[in-house]
Subunit: 110 residues, 2 copies
DNA sequence: CAGTATCCCAAGCGATACTG
DNA sequence: CAGTATCGCTTGGGATACTG
């Protein structure tokens, strides 16, 4: 399926970390969980990310089967990103992080 | 509670990322979910981590209320780390990552 | 618009030496 | 044993310029 076939970590958690163990990747997932987005939209939502880094992460995630890249033959170009089924299943992880973050904030804000 | 009181991110997911959005932190949680561990044990389990980085992360996580540091007045010293309740509640996130990693591996191994 | 290419800097890390 | 301190180096990432 991908280059990852070699050197798969034994621990499933490490497997997950290899594919989304990065701040930006989690946030890209967050954005795409609400639906397909264009490159420019992603860049705007992900406050502070540079074009270079966004491109790099999108490429990696596409390679790993987490998202689809749809190029429209237009001028100016239009590229849309959406989650694959595998990518969408990361919602579980995302939601767990969401809930924990919520709970933590309530604690801190006291 | 902590220095984090200023500049709390609005998004709960970003909050979580601030506190455990790092490969090593997730793995430290993984280790401590099975019980209290000494510094040396952690270092051995976390394959490849340097003493410096392990210390840094443990300090940060202690400061953020994720874990307890218990120092025993002995020679040679003995220091034990364990999760706080808040830290332990990260099990949800850990487990979600575990399950997703498992599923992903099955996909890839075909 | 959505990239690629290049240069460059600083944070982060490893390696090493030392200590309560 | 479990650290701290110091020093280089690697590399991730910002800034900028250019293009299909």
């Amino acid at each position: 399926m991908s280059i990852l076939n070699e050197n798969l970590p034994a621990c499933p958690v490490e497997m997950t970390l290899m594919l989304m163990g990065d701040k930006w990747k989690v946030l890209i997932i967050r954005e795409l969980l609400t639906g397909t987005k264009r490159f420019g939209e992603l860049k705007k939502s992900l406050n502070g990310i540079s074009q270079k880094v966004l491109t790099q992460h999108l490429r990696m995630m596409e390679e790993n089967g987490l998202l689809n890249r749809q190029v429209y033959a237009q001028v100016p170009p239009k590229v849309e990103y959406s989650l694959t089924d595998v990518g969408h299943s990361l919602k579980q992880v995302h939601d767990a992080m969401w809930q924990w973050g919520e709970a933590y904030k309530k604690q801190v804000e006291i």
